[in-house]
């Protein structure tokens, strides 16, 4: 049951991801990204990591993609297809990605080919919360510094410089 669910979600994720990176319309790509991320969240659910799946939907779909769309808007990204979304590098990039996939895939299959995941349901928020506050206090705190720094940094960068402001006023 979970396997089937996982397979479906996974297939959707892969298809959506491929569209994200090949779509000629950037806004479409962003929307397909929503689908891909949602599908991954589905996969999490199938693996009984419901809390992670929830956070994934909340943070990614709810926040990150919205941010991206805003950015697209602000950078006046054209909604119509672009003539040149990829450069001549694309085939080469594809080859590199394929080789990497082959190496990694082979390694993974060789290493974990016989392992099975037993369906256990401990993906509760309680377990994760316990972990965070019992064993992972330090990274959690550091993460808060990171968020703050990133926030302030983003704000600082988004402010107009005084000279630019003056130029605008002129």
């Amino acid at each position: 049951m979970t396997t089937a669910l996982f397979s479906v979600a996974g297939a959707v994720a892969v298809v959506a991801a491929v569209v994200v990176v090949v779509s000629r319309r950037i806004v479409h790509a962003a929307l397909w990204l929503v689908l891909a991320l949602g599908a991954v969240a589905g996969c999490f659910g199938a693996l009984h990591a419901e809390f992670v799946a929830l956070v994934q939907i909340l943070v990614y779909v709810g926040a990150i993609v919205v941010l991206v769309l805003f950015a697209l808007m602000l950078t006046k990204a054209p909604t119509n297809p672009l003539p040149e979304i990829t450069s001549g590098r694309a085939p080469f990039a594809a080859a590199v990605a394929a080789v990497l996939a082959l190496i990694l895939g082979a390694g993974v299959v060789l290493a974990f080919g016989n392992e099975k995941i037993k369906p256990v349901t401990d993906g509760s928020a309680t377990a994760v919360g316990t972990q965070v506050f019992k064993n992972w206090v330090l990274p959690f705190e550091v993460l808060s510094v990171l968020l703050l720094a990133a926030l302030i940094g983003a704000i600082a960068l988004s402010q107009r410089t005084e000279s630019a402001q003056r130029k605008k006023e002129d």
Partner: protein, 105 residues
């Protein structure tokens, strides 16, 4: 469920992300590809967590990674906007102001 299933999915997603990063010119699309790669990471973490029957260490790290991604994308988009303000576009491979000058001699 075989463990390789999520792992292979992660590999595929990761490599799609790599392809996107290397091939797409638009910085925002590149950022989206990064998100795909990070999702692959999370998939791995959750899968291993489920396999290990652990104390949800993997899931915890996955949560951290999601947060980290949010921070990254926030700052990244700020930089992208700044780039757009300066250059008028957001093409990664067209921003080449900093290319060094040829030696005079």
């Amino acid at each position: 469920m075989p463990l390789v299933l999520p792992l292979l999915l992660a590999v595929v997603l990761f490599c799609i992300g790599v392809y996107g990063v290397l091939a797409r010119r638009n910085v925002i699309t590149m950022l989206m590809s990064f998100e795909l790669m990070l999702n692959a990471v999370n998939l791995n973490l959750v899968a291993f967590d489920a396999w290990r029957v652990d104390e949800a260490t993997g899931q915890t790290l996955a949560i951290f990674v999601i947060t980290l991604a949010a921070a990254e994308i926030g700052l990244g988009l700020a930089i992208v906007l700044l780039l757009f303000r300066g250059h008028g576009h957001v093409d990664a491979d067209a921003a080449r102001d900093l290319l060094e000058h040829e030696e005079a001699s």
